[in-house]
Amino acid sequence: MGQQLTGPIADTTVFDLRLSRRGQRLNKLCAALCSPQERDAFKRDEEAFMSRFALTEAEKELIRRRDFEGLIEAGTNIYFLLKIGSVTGTGLYKMGAQMRGESYDEFLATRHIRGAV
């Protein structure tokens, strides 16, 4: 089978097929956000939007709480998660700061060039 993936990596979620299968409905919701009409629909009525994707209550709660780390663990692919980030006004670096358990400014202070945003 080859030895491409040999074991867990610290503080890292590897998006494999099992995780993708678990997150399929979440990822379908994210994919729908690739259209301006759907982004408007999300902003207009988030609950109604979520109800179209057969999410569990726990999955909906992750979106309501903007729990990005939880969404990753629930099988949302990071690049799909960025679409929720965009529609909720949470850019990549803000999402990242949350996942690191830092404030946005604390996170920026760890970067080489803070202006490249």
Partner: protein
């Protein structure tokens, strides 16, 4: 006859799109990145390629996990600009090259046994467009080169191995060389370098690894192609695994290809590498 005249390895960070669109390329934080492309653009103007084959990955703009191909080749006359969730950038439609795509499909599938998914409609996004922005500045009339997208699954494991990506590059080279028309082609391998965008390890970068990768890509690509996904992700971050697409670019060049440019800039969360070769 078709001929590969050059290869480019380069990162495809999404934030570069709005920087180009809003004319911010000369701001201090971004200037070092764009300055590195000045000589590359001059070099490309001398090489005058007819077609760029862009090895990239879709980030959920046109493919979803309902169906996610391992390798997919664009086989159309035009490629639309995709909306990956942040709106459609106002860029000219990308002109393709159906005759070359058709030839590549026949040669790769019949001769080289790479059974690609063939796409008559494919909307391209930052993975494809940012490298185009950096190397081939567009005008209102369009892009200075025709382009063919070659999408690779680098986001949902199991991914193709580095070795397989390298072999695809070698097959691509043979396929180009059996194209009957006179056509000059550059191959672009995009993505990476070190970065991780999730978990407590968000923002992880490793310049030492990136510099090593650039060096090995030049000096010993056969050996580099044996690197595993695990090794890349451990040393350079989970999302760095997309570097396997650079191996396709390198495989498409002769082993003795001459390295022309090399640059590295890592301002925020991604090691932005650049390397070019003359075939």
């Amino acid at each position: 006859m078709g001929r590969i005249v050059g290869g480019i390895g380069l990162s495809h960070v999404p934030s570069i799109g709005p920087v180009v669109d809003r004319g911010r390329t000369q701001e201090p934080a971004w200037k070092p990145l764009f300055d590195a492309y000045v000589p590359v653009r001059e070099w490309l103007q001398r090489l005058k390629p007819d077609v760029a084959i862009v090895v990239y990955n879709d980030h959920g703009a046109d493919f979803t996990f309902d169906k996610y191909p391992t390798f997919a080749l664009g086989v159309a006359e035009h490629y639309a600009i995709g909306d990956e969730g942040f709106g459609t950038r106002s860029l000219p439609v990308v002109e393709g090259d159906f005759e070359l795509s058709n030839h590549l499909a026949q040669a790769l599938i019949y001769e080289h046994e790479f059974d690609l998914t063939l796409c008559q409609e494919l909307a391209v996004e930052h993975g494809f467009l940012v490298p185009m922005n950096l190397c081939f500045p567009h005008s209102t009339n369009g892009w200075p080169v025709r382009a063919i997208p070659l999408a690779v699954n680098v986001i949902q494991h199991p991914l193709p191995t580095g070795q397989r990506c390298y072999r695809l590059g070698q097959a691509l080279r043979a396929a180009v060389e059996s194209f009957p028309e006179d056509s000059k082609i550059v191959v672009m391998g995009t993505g990476g370098m070190s970065h991780q965008l999730q978990g407590k390890r968000f923002g992880f970068m490793n310049e030492k690894f990136d510099q090593w990768f650039l060096g090995q890509l030049e000096a010993d690509p056969e050996r580099l192609a044996r690197i595993t996904h695990q090794e890349i992700m451990e040393q350079a971050g989970a999302e760095a695994v997309e570097l396997i697409m650079w191996l396709t670019m390198r495989g498409a060049l002769s082993p003795q290809a001459r390295r022309v440019h090399r640059n590295y800039y890592a301002p925020m969360t991604t090691g932005m590498g650049l390397i070019t070769f003359e075939a």
